[in-house]
Amino acid sequence: MNALIVFMALAIGLAEGIPLGKQGQWKELTVLSTLLGMAFLLVASNYLGLPSPLALLERLLEPVGKAIFK
């Protein structure tokens, strides 16, 4: 699945990025690349066994959530 996400990131990068580059929309291209880079980082961190951002959020808020809800 990780490989599929990397492949999809590359495909989206090419399909969306090339027209943006040709039109000179550099800001759009930067945001697009950042989002794709974040997706890549997520799967890479998962592959390396690092916690995801939501897991970190969970560690932070779980005591509060469990104190309030059953």
């Binding site: 697009l32 997706a39 997520l42 951002p53």
Partner: protein, 364 residues
């Protein structure tokens, strides 16, 4: 090109209804019953009231800052830098909700329709459809909800009517056996699910009659509360709260109950088709809001190139963070309500108070 689509009040209402119900009808009734027991239906009532109160603030802000959504008016109120830091939390929240909704609906599809198909395949297919719809823009999503919304509403009402003969009022008694605390604690759990319709602030500038925003929200949340309240009350009255609290989707179990002399059965398939359609449209709307919000924060001319990467990011988050449905349910039950309360209520009230204190108004 920024979003040029225009929606009318009816479409506004159905857009909100689909988002509220698609999100709240799947897993929330079970969690609510676990929290509030037999009094769970009262939590829905309290949450409905609180959400309507919150809608007044959102509708007021939409009129005070005409032509601006909350991402834009956070920049107007707080300035370029702080406004962007606060404003980006809204699109990120929509991406999180999209992740939770699609993970939940894919799990149901996997459990009921396609038990031998890998869950990841269902997830990828759902995301592809959502991204395709989201990229088409708000007008397309709104027109789809005009068809799906009434169908969804009617299907739930019909399911509720068909299971009514199995309802035992004795299973709802005694009410308040543990006092009022359980249902009062259940109310914020429900409120944070209804609260997803803060997305109304993204629709107000695109509505042909922005002054009708409150009416649209009121109608949508009232229908949503009716549907969730009915499913919650019927689940308790039919299965008993001891069993209903552990069900992944009590609404689905209710639909499975329908069997009239082997003549009318497997109704859950029809209901699930509508439910899955609704969650996909709701998710595409959330992806659209993510792309639109992020484009406005970054000052882009066009939001459309951000929809596919947004969908991919959400898919990656979904696969990495929720490898099993247990983890998703745990996150949804204990973590999501706190995050949602902060974004839906805390941030908006902060913006509202700051706008009043600094005397900021929209210029359009």
């Amino acid at each position: 090109m920024p979003e040029k689509g225009i929606i009318n009040t009816k479409q506004f209402t159905w857009l909100l209804f689909i988002i509220i119900t698609g999100f709240a009808v799947m897993q929330i009734p079970g969690m609510l019953i676990m929290q509030a027991g037999r009094d769970a239906w009262l939590s829905v009532l309290v949450a409905w009231f609180l959400d309507v109160m919150l809608a007044i603030v959102y509708a007021y802000m939409g009129i005070r800052f005409p032509g601006e959504n909350f991402v834009q008016y956070s920049i107007t109120i707080l300035g370029k830098h702080l406004g962007r830091m606060v404003g980006i939390l809204f699109p990120l929240f929509f991406l999180l909700v999209c992740t939770i909704v699609l993970r939940g609906s894919s799990q149901i599809v996997s459990n009921v329709f396609l038990p031998t198909t890998p869950l990841n395949l269902i997830l990828v297919s759902s995301y592809v459809v959502c991204a395709l719809i989201g990229r088409k823009g708000i007008e397309v999503i709104a027109r789809v909800t005009e068809v799906l919304g009434p169908l969804f509403f009617l299907s739930i009402i019909i399911v509720c009517l068909l299971v009514l003969p199995d309802f035992h009022i004795a299973r709802m008694k005694p009410q308040f056996d543990e006092g009022i605390a359980p249902f009062l604690v259940g109310a914020p759990l429900m409120l944070t699910s209804f609260g997803v319709c803060i997305i109304m602030a993204m629709y107000i500038p695109l509505c042909n009659r922005p002054e009708n925003a409150f009416l649209a929200k009121f109608s949508a949340v009232s229908m949503g509360a009716l549907v969730v309240g009915l499913i919650t009350a019927l689940s308790v009255g039919i299965f008993g709260f001891e069993d209903a609290q552990y069900m992944y989707s009590p609404g689905l179990q209710l639909a499975k109950m329908i069997n009239f002399s082997n003549y009318l059965e497997r109704v859950e398939m029809v209901w699930l088709l509508v439910l899955v359609g609704s969650t996909i449209v709701a998710s595409s709307s959330l992806l659209w809001a993510f792309g639109q919000g992020l484009a406005q924060i970054a000052g882009l001319k066009n939001y459309q190139p951000l929809i596919y990467p947004g969908a991919l990011l959400s898919l990656a988050l979904c696969i990495v963070s929720f490898p099993s449905s247990l983890q998703q349910t745990h996150f949804y039950h204990y973590i999501y309500p706190i995050v949602a309360a902060f974004v839906e209520t805390g941030l908006e009230l902060f913006l509202f108070a700051t706008a009043l204190i600094l005397g900021k108004r929209g210029t359009a």
